[in-house]
Assembly symmetry: C2
Homo-oligomer: 185 residues x 2
């Protein structure tokens, strides 16, 4: 099989595009982030360029929110990554609500909202990594199935790839994890 | 809008399912991981339960590989998450090759392979987080477009959601990042 070497290219995509909320000097701010991840079952990570305005709010309050927009929100989602809270007041773009932590502003229009408590950071040359424990999750009824479970087909997340700067839809569910491979045992 | 509180539920999905390779006591081993992420542009993260056999190899060699399987490989991919290298020799499941680092076994059948050097770790109660710098990437010609860029539609990654233990397809690319929101400026 012919393999081509691409150089040192990070290809770990697609990742879900989220809107991260923080209170910066008392004002809600939102930034688009797709360099996200999961650490352990309760903990998410955000890779955020050190220049981002939002990071001051995360360091100050040690809280943030992760809001998952649906595809309908792609324009506003993209916009939040194009303009900085340094120069634009993004607090009026959305209906904002607060939960248990009181300092993690969440976006009502996003079907899924998680409020997080900062538990660890990691320092990279141009990026700060924020690792946050999810302490509460809020969900629109419209994206839950009959059993009350989040249905990603109804959520319709915005998936991101870097090299072609693309937003992608989620396709269909096609197999069961921890199951489809049992035949090889 | 009616929001339901789900408790402290991590909903940051879907994430790409990968096969992580490491040399454990000289033998290639592969483990299925979907709790992955991106730290900065060059660095990926893996959240790995402390019980996993593979972690000894990562700590020993300070290298690992991240192999992205296509949907065709869903059975073998799932299987690698069902059985442990403690009891099953997974080195014979795939054609294995090595690259620059020499201690990060890669899977030829996976269309994308990244070899990584361990740069940081983070310690969680039940999980070790491995953060690796991508040092070289290998790609099947069949998943590159005419300009030599990785095309995720051709790659057909296996996307994972936790609550329903689902494997999902990638849908179509529907918008340009850093662009579709410009109209709101």
């Amino acid at each position: 099989m012919a393999k081509r070497e691409l150089g040192a290219r990070n290809c770990l995509y697609p990742l879900p595009t989220v809107l991260v909320g923080a209170l910066v000097k008392g004002r809600p701010n939102f930034i688009t982030i797709a360099h996200v991840g999961i650490m352990d079952l309760q903990t998410v990570s955000l890779g955020m360029n050190k220049t981002h305005f939002t990071k001051a709010g995360i360091f100050e309050n040690r809280t943030f929110s992760v809001n998952i927009p649906s595809q309908d929100m792609v324009e506003k989602t993209d916009y939040c990554g194009l303009v900085s809270g340094k120069t634009v007041d993004k607090s009026k773009l959305f209906k904002v609500f607060f939960g248990k932590l009181q300092t993690a502003p969440m976006i009502e229009e996003c079907p899924v909202n998680m409020e997080c408590r900062l538990v660890k950071t990691a320092d990279f040359p141009a990026h700060d990594i924020f690792m946050g424990e999810v302490v509460a999750t809020y969900c629109d009824e419209s994206v839950l199935d009959d059993e009350g479970r989040l249905d990603y087909a109804r959520l319709r997340p915005i998936l991101f790839t870097m090299h072609d700067a693309g937003y992608w839809r989620l396709g269909e569910r096609f197999a069961d994890a921890w199951s489809v491979g049992k035949g090889l045992k």
